[in-house]
């Protein structure tokens, strides 16, 4: 792996760190397996690119993308909370619908942003800018999740049955959590489009699994209970994930090629999921002997 590949992996890792944090918000904080992500990531990219091409300022285009993501999250939440559609299914429904919506927004399967103005001036500002965004996000979310409101949000993922007794409306909290999470995912989509210079209709496939992989990698390697540490471990998990992928695909390791990316991702998630169980087994065996 050379320097360019290393920096590329770092860049992708930081970018997907935003998605990892968003996935952490749904899968862990409000305990909702949200699959909208695969649709809201290209949605963010589509909205931002379509607006930038039309001449809208990149800042406003990015804000519009975040808002679009929030709306997508709201739809999933509303379907689940108001009409009692199974959470997984509600996410899949929104994600599927978003495929068509994204095509409508872009008007074609992909948009190039190469000659357009973006949030990033020059390619060497990308990495520091992404790092700053990640740090600001971690600080803001740490404050938010530690607030009275944030605590109520976290409580719904831990014990939804008791929440009403403390005046917490679980349905409203679920919807707010989903809005927030998908807003972040769309934000990452908008950033991705501006960093890489394009938006593509199929760019969302597997986004969720990457985010989930990074959450699990982060949790496995740095298990902590403090919110700010968990958020940092999300981003570190994401960076580590992309470094491992880059390493696996670039060193001719076991004959892997770039089309094996999704396979490697899934295997990585399975390994990360099984790891704690194996560790337990090995530990108990060890204790049995001694």
């Amino acid at each position: 792996m050379n320097m360019i590949q290393f920096l590329g992996a770092l860049e992708l890792g930081l970018l997907y760190g935003v998605i990892t944090i968003a996935v952490y918000l749904t899968f862990r904080v409000i305990n909702f397996p949200d699959l909208t992500v695969d649709g809201s990531f290209p949605l963010g990219a589509a909205v931002a690119s379509a607006l930038i091409v039309k001449g809208v300022d990149p800042v406003f285009a990015t804000l519009a993308a975040i808002l679009a993501g929030c709306i997508a999250g709201f739809v999933t939440g509303y379907l689940h909370v108001r009409w009692k559609i199974l959470g997984l299914l509600a996410g899949i429904l929104t994600m599927t619908a978003l495929y068509s919506i994204n095509l409508r927004i872009m008007g074609k399967p992909n948009i190039a942003l190469l000659m357009e103005p973006t949030l990033f001036q020059g390619s060497n500002t990308v990495l520091p800018a992404l790092a700053t965004i990640a740090i600001v996000l971690i600080v803001l979310l740490t404050i938010f999740l530690g607030s009275q409101f944030g605590l109520a949000l976290r409580s719904t993922g831990i014990n939804p049955r008791v929440c009403p007794a403390y005046g917490i409306n679980v349905g409203v909290m679920t919807i707010i959590g989903l809005c927030l999470s998908n807003g972040l995912v769309a934000f990452a989509g908008a950033l991705f489009a501006q960093v890489h210079g394009f938006a593509d209709i199929s760019m969302g496939t597997g986004t969720l699994i990457v985010g989930l992989a990074a959450v699990i990698v982060g949790e496995t390697l740095f298990h902590s209970y403090r919110i700010w540490l968990i958020l940092i471990s999300c981003v570190l998990g994401s960076i580590l994930y992309y470094l491992v992928i880059a390493l696996a695909l670039n060193t001719n390791f076991a004959g892997l090629q770039s089309s094996d990316l999704k396979l490697v991702t899934s295997v990585l998630v399975v390994v990360a999921l099984l790891f704690p169980q194996f560790r337990q087994k090995i530990l108990s065996k060890y204790r049995g002997i001694s």
Binding site: G146, S155, P164, Y166, G167, I168
Partner: protein
């Protein structure tokens, strides 16, 4: 005063399993009364509690907490007026949150939750003081996860959580049933102490006839959705626990 006025509760309406729990059930609880409720399985004790908390909707009748009618309010909408301790220590609090976070959540009951920090030095000091007062060595474990505590400790903290904010009524749903005898005694004494201290109106379900008579100042014996015995004053003091057996 809690007024339950001619309520009807039917489960599984329109199905072959339709089952009427209450028909024109009426009950009044005076402010400051500590009512213990006893009765066999299916007597309607838990349903009575769930009707007050809003977890079960009534088909007819009204429920008043003082001057406020709460009949149609959902559980989280009436939570400002009602505090509860649940039977299962694992289900009554938030095991993945710390003790101080649990207390903070309860401290915001009935108030608008905003973006101010849920915890600060002042609140921590307050929580440490009230934990020290109950004397089960939790005052230095504010940042331990609730899930690390024993069942009895969790119920004790749940009681604190229920009494951090004022309520028109405290509902205790067999909150000592899952504890060992020693811890049961500790939690019951803490219950008694907190009730006296905050002068609470209480409805306590229990399975123990001794507890039903030893605690509180009024005992209801329920059977098939009706109060078959309403014991107060001297009649109650004179009664032996064994005399309640025929009502089961």
């Amino acid at each position: 005063m809690i007024r339950i006025n001619k309520i009807s509760v039917i489960f599984g309406r329109g199905t072959p399993l339709e089952h009427s729990v209450f028909q024109d059930f009426t009950l009044q609880i005076q402010t400051g009364e500590f009512v213990t409720v006893i009765g066999g399985n299916g007597a309607g004790k838990s349903t009575l509690m769930n009707v007050i908390s809003g977890d079960v909707r009534v088909e007819r009748g009204q429920i008043w907490l003082d001057e406020k009618e709460v009949t149609t309010l959902r559980p989280h909408e009436r939570s400002a007026l009602i505090s509860r301790v649940f039977q299962d220590p694992l289900l009554g609090s938030f095991s993945d949150l710390t003790i101080e976070e649990n207390l903070s959540l309860a401290y915001s009951r009935g108030e608008t939750r905003n973006l101010r920090p849920a915890l600060n030095k002042k609140l921590r000091d307050k929580y440490r003081t009230i934990l020290a007062e109950i004397g089960i060595n939790l005052e230095n474990r504010l940042q331990d996860k609730m899930g690390l505590l024993s069942g009895g400790q969790r119920q004790a903290v749940s009681l604190l959580m229920a009494t951090l904010q004022p309520a028109k009524i405290l509902l205790l749903d067999e909150h000592t049933a899952a504890l060992d005898p020693k811890m049961e005694q500790v939690v019951l004494e803490l219950t008694q102490k907190l009730i006296l201290e905050h002068q609470l109106t209480v409805l306590m379900i229990t399975h123990s006839m001794n507890q039903a008579l030893a605690y509180g100042n009024r005992t209801l014996v329920m059977h098939q959705g009706q109060v078959v015995k309403d014991l107060q004053g001297e009649a109650r003091t004179a009664l032996q626990a064994s005399e309640l057996i025929p009502f089961f």
